[in-house]
């Protein structure tokens, strides 16, 4: 449960959290140990001070106790005035009567012995310390001294010490946390950059982007692996693009490419008022070649036709293989109608030239239909249809010729 909650956190927060927990685990025992040690050491020292004071007083009062001298005994007790924590003190004679009693701030109520007078005894509560000291004069029991002291000095000292420890712990905690946060950036920053570049790839659909992380650690490895993966993706994408838009036999753009392109051509012809011409080229007698000499020869022939078409065209003109023996040429920026018709002538001449394929002389012809946009059609399907109609007109007339579309060709 807790682990699940933790694993949902961002790495940045995880790292900080781990650091905090680690630092606390490191600091807490030290703080506890130091404080406990100081607590007991200071308490021992303070209690020892009380004991020494009690011993001094009892030593001073011993003779007075032996001679029942209350005044001198009180004088001895009065020296406790110098010790601010000493609250009350009472001297008892051996039989239990009070010889003298001292109280700070006029608090003079007698203390009570809390054990047999001959026995040394101590009573420690959270705020006060009582001590009963039997008093001897040359080994002769002469009574007992009972003192009561507050532990305020002790608590004061401990308070300051606790404050110092807490401050020191806080300082070392914040220092190490600061260091951890700074160091953590070396992990999270490359991760963030990697993440950002992955997002960029998703948004822009551009597989050529590469993450800009060059460290030699795991994140660097991850980023390089990611880059390699993208490279593979890009290659595969290019390949798919080729398969989708290019014809394998001739290396020319295929029908898909042609359909997209014709839309753009019609669009820009209408928008910029530029005329474009479309030629449909159908090879005559291709079926016989294919049937008699085989597909391989047919394919080779198509390849040769493709090459010949390409050499004839300007760079701005486009040639496609749109079907089995059908080709199409798009000519943009047509200012003179003779340009496409002259081109059609050249194409017919080039295609009908015999060629040697696998030891055979092969000869085909070409029938070409030409249409103009926007003259004959204002959309791509009309444009295509017009060229197609013109092409069939050419084919049905005399083979190896071209026709420009005209309205009376309508079937």
């Amino acid at each position: 449960m807790a682990v699940g909650w933790f694993s949902d956190l961002k790495i940045q927060k995880k790292l900080v959290l781990i650091n905090i927990v680690t630092i606390l685990f490191a600091i807490m025992p030290v703080v506890v140990a130091m404080f406990s040690y100081e607590y007991f050491a200071v308490r021992q020292a303070v209690l020892q001070e009380f004991r020494v004071q009690a011993d001094i007083v009892s030593d001073n009062a011993a003779a007075a106790m032996a001679f029942n001298d209350a005044d001198t005994a009180y004088e001895a007790l009065s020296t406790l005035r110098a010790a601010s924590d000493m609250q009350r003190a009472t001297i008892f004679l051996p039989e239990g009567s009070v010889l003298a009693s001292y109280g700070r701030d006029n608090m003079a109520a007698n203390l009570l012995p809390f054990s047999a007078l001959e026995k040394r005894a101590e009573l420690l509560t959270w705020d006060r310390f009582q001590l009963q000291v039997p008093v001897f004069l040359k080994d002769n029991f002469v009574g007992a001294l009972v003192i009561e002291a507050h532990l305020s000095t002790f608590y004061q000292r401990i308070q300051w010490y606790a404050l110092a420890i807490v401050l020191a712990a806080a300082a070392s905690f914040s220092l190490s946390l600061w260091a951890a946060i700074v160091l953590k950036r070396s992990i999270t920053l490359p991760l963030e950059r990697l993440m950002a570049s992955v997002n960029q790839v998703t948004i822009k659909q551009d597989y050529s982007l590469r993450p800009d992380v060059n460290s030699r650690d795991e994140i660097g490895d991850l980023s390089r692996a990611f880059g390699n993966m993208m490279e593979n993706l890009q290659e595969r994408d290019d390949r798919l693009q080729d398969l989708a838009f290019y014809d394998e036999v001739t290396g020319l753009p295929n029908r898909n490419f042609f359909k997209e392109r014709i839309q753009q051509v019609v669009g820009s012809a209408l928008r910029y008022k530029r005329r474009s011409a479309l030629m449909f080229i159908d090879l005559d007698d291709f079926k016989q070649v294919n049937d008699s000499l085989g597909h391989h020869v047919g394919d080779d022939l198509l390849h040769v036709v493709g090459l010949r078409l390409r050499t004839l065209l300007r760079n701005s003109d486009l040639v496609f293989r749109i079907g089995g023996d059908e080709f199409a040429v798009i000519v943009e920026h047509v200012e003179d109608d003779h340009v496409p018709t002259m081109l059609a002538d050249k194409i017919i001449q080039a295609v009908s030239k015999p060629c040697q394929l696998r030891g055979q002389t092969v000869k085909v012809g070409a029938s070409i239909g030409i249409s103009f946009c926007p003259d004959h059609a204002r959309d791509s399907s009309g444009f295509l249809k017009a060229a197609d109609t013109a092409m069939y007109a050419a084919k049905s007339n005399v083979k190896n010729t071209y026709r420009v579309y005209s309205d009376n060709m309508e079937e």
């Binding site: 001073n60 001679f67 001198t72 039989e95």
Partner: protein, 178 residues
Amino acid sequence: MKTLAKLLQVLVTVAVSLVLCTGASSDLWSRDALPEYVIKAGYLYHFGQLTEWPQQTEATEFTLCYYGSELAGKALAGLVHKKINGQPINVRYIDDAASAKACRMLFIAETDDLRSKSILRESARLPVLTVTDSPALADQGAVIFLRPEGQKLVFEIDNELAKQAQLTISSRLLRLGK
């Protein structure tokens, strides 16, 4: 002799207990003389504890001599089981000056007769701590003079005399003297 001492001891203890049961030291003096001497005996004991004598090699016991009231003797008998400076107390009655040189401490109780004075004079030259409770002898060479003051028993110490007798009295005791 031993049984007598024992009996006395018991008596003294009973007496002390009685005094303590009354809970006050106030009217000690008027009621009975023995409790008064019990107190005085206690004082003598502590005097002995707080005084140093010059080295006396052959002494194996602490000889506490007295002269005068027999009550003092009875009270002092209560000290025989105690020790001073590690030496058992030996209580001894003397009635001539010549015997004084065997004493460490000499108590002259309630008398100021000629003999007491001559004993005192003799003791002044010896390392003997002389104590008296008779006012007439206070300035006749006794180192310590015990007297009642109000409800209490107090003492005066003549430290000059003590020094002459080669006695060193503890400052703690001197401080308590009037």
